[in-house]
Subunit: 429 residues, 2 copies
């Protein structure tokens, strides 16, 4: 018997993100149940070509008319992942009008034409959620909307376009020129056939308009934003910047001036190499928020891609499912089951070992023998100069269980090899 | 006329975080109104010594009996910031019992004894929120609870104790031994007089228990967690680790094994220097979450301190204030006012300029003259070898307005100095 409430979804668009969402609804069903107390039912999917074979849950309808989602009284939440402005706006307007909740990843629509939609959602008291529209899987919308609600936001700086960052990373680390790096991005699926929105900075500008709205509750007119992309970036400037200690990044930046004006823009920017923002490589996104209470916050993650973006869409859907609930633990069950604890001795890890030994011939052989006896093999070894406490012998092992390392050390103690207790730390990466 | 609803707060504890909260309630009043639609009234503060002078809003009562907060029917939310386990638990239990919402930063209590409290809150349908209890100002509780609700969490790795990280950073960058670095941390206010909880890893373990609960909905018994601190860490191992390309960090790590067991523990760990976690310096905290939809997410920010921790407390209070509301924009106003846009030309920035010039004497003088005419002064200059398009002359300016730089370049164009369009990028840091 299934007594869980059901949340019925209509999905418009079955491209990269839409099919990622379908996959997550299937693969993470159990997690979604535990976290929302709901069953999610995907009733209808609107696509451009209904004749193509699709991998959809049994019973899911296909339609070529998105407006059907807005009309269907069964559907609770319309998920708009088709992109574009005109049809998407019609769908969202009609859906809100019929009292449905809407989840969208459409930054262009919300940035260029969001005011009406938010007003409409406010009047209808329905949700219009859009975590996926800025920085893919990074929860920056929720962070600004909820977590930092007690802050005065001072500034926002972000690498908000994965394609541009991938191109800049390739130009920087592999010495490519722009055209070659762009071709590589296209071959890797990071860049569209028409990369204009990405490399000319407009995609970043769309996202920045949304961040300004979240940070200061102000509607920044998209067409007023100064935007400079990376299309004309010469590799020579990347090299010169590096000589000064900087990396070139395409940054969206916004801050509130002392006079209450919003200074915002998108520019190729030299970022000091010691900053975390300078370390953001490949197609990743990152955002740095400066605020008067929290100080400085830095969020880093995948800015695009099927599953990461669908992760953000699904987070919004779950928050709609949970609306009436109060989940302190994040799970429906108020009393959580006990964890089955993995014994520490069974944990496997690469290990750093340091022994203080006598300066005798054969000591490395004896030590590594003790390790080998317990199946611990050595990846790297380093013998250092004698100190007052003996000769430091440093080893990095291959992956081994904590128990095996402990047993090997016990053998060494019995054999009286060690002048001081062995040092053992785990290694990551 | 004030028609806003009022949320009445009772605060227990006026130490570092408590006084930060009082300060934020005063300084960010306008932001809080816009974001919650509520007035926040601090009615009563429970302190140990009521005779000391306190800087509190007019009309705030002082008491030495925390239980008074739980009893007072006016109080909607009890904020527990006194720490310790026994009295804090009594206060929270009594508050929940009386149907009050509770916000706490008490990781020790929630980790060692949270099960009953969460059950009680669930039965009473009241909020028991604790964003401030893990990693200070970093919104990791909300990220796990809400944003990643559609994910299967695979692993969590965190630098969760600022004191330990400060000590390790000092040992690494300044070659200090442990005892000296600890003294420095104490003198800087980062470490308590009794630093046991921090440096022996128990504070990290408390936080990790809370993260395990949020990630997998499982109660991990605090006393089962393997914990190794940094008290006995020898500087020599930091140096050897560095030779292998690693930084030593105190990490809390948890993952779900293939058999559904939770493997968790706190250990000094060698982290590959290319990882963002290895770059976390000073008293900062950071968390890396690996999940099956989002991939890898990295959050970095202040892990402790008065205002950052109070920021997290306040985020929880706002979410209670908003419970009945649906704020798509994060602001009460559904139609946002237009931003006053700072003209791009007025934006001030350090600039990177690159000119292609003829190989003539005096060209640097003429160029820098054109810049000086518009008040743009030069911080660094570099003349590079001639390329096919002329001699690259690279300048880093001091801060200047975009307009001044643009005007100077226009002068250069008129004077026919340049063999190619000037390149101008902004600089951060």
């Amino acid at each position: 018997m299934n007594t869980r409430p059901t949340l019925t979804l209509g999905l418009a668009g079955l491209g990269t993100v839409g099919s990622g969402l379908v996959r997550l609804l299937r693969e993470n069903t159990e997690e979604l149940r535990q976290r929302s107390g709901c069953e999610f039912r995907l009733k209808t999917v609107a696509v451009r070509d209904a004749s193509r074979e699709r991998d959809l849950p049994a019973g899911t309808r296909l339609t070529t008319d998105p407006a059907e989602l807005a009309r269907d009284p069964d559907i609770d939440v319309v998920v708009e992942l088709m992109g574009g402005v005109t049809t998407a706006k019609q769908l969202i307007t009609a859906s809100l009008d019929n009292g449905k909740h809407v989840v969208t990843a459409n930054k262009a629509l919300l940035a260029e034409d969001g005011t009406d939609l938010f007003r409409q959602a406010g009047e209808k008291k329905t949700a219009l959620l859009y975590e996926a529209s800025v920085a893919g899987g990074i929860p920056v919308v929720q962070t600004l909307k909820d977590s930092l609600a007690g802050n005065r936001i001072l500034s926002i700086e972000g690498i908000l376009n994965g394609t541009s960052n991938f191109i800049l990373s390739e130009m920087t680390s592999r010495g490519m020129d722009f055209a070659t790096a762009l071709r590589g991005a296209q071959e890797n699926g990071y860049a569209e056939a028409d990369p204009t929105l990405d490399i000319d900075g407009f995609d970043t500008a769309h996202k920045l308009v949304l961040l300004v709205r979240l940070a200061w509750g102000l509607d920044y007119p998209y067409t007023s934003m100064p935007v400079q992309g990376i299309r004309n970036l010469d590799r020579m400037d990347i090299d010169f910047a590096r000589e000064f200690g900087y990396r070139v990044k395409l940054l969206g930046r916004a801050r509130l001036t002392g006079e209450g004006k919003v200074e915002a823009g998108v520019f190729p920017t030299l970022v000091n190499h010691t900053y975390l923002l300078a370390r953001v490589g490949g197609a990743f996104n990152a955002i740095r928020i400066e605020a008067n209470a929290v100080g400085s916050l830095f969020l880093h993650g995948p800015g695009a891609g099927s599953l990461p973006t669908a992760s953000a869409v699904l987070g919004d859907i779950v928050s709609i499912a949970r609306r009436a609930h109060l989940l302190n633990s994040g799970f429906v069950q108020q009393v959580l089951p006990p964890a089955s604890v993995q014994p520490a001795a069974e944990a496997r890890s690469t290990c750093y070992l340091r022994f203080m030994v006598k300066d005798n011939p054969g000591v490395l052989r004896d030590l590594s023998g003790a390790l080998a006896d317990h199946g611990v093999s050595i990846a790297q070894a380093m013998q250092k100069e004698r100190s007052e406490n003996g000769v430091p012998l440093v080893l990095m092992t291959h992956e081994a269980s904590a128990q095996a390392v402990r047993d090997a050390i016990a053998d060494m103690l019995r054999a009286d090899f060690l002048l001081a207790p062995a040092v053992c730390y785990r290694v990551m990466g």
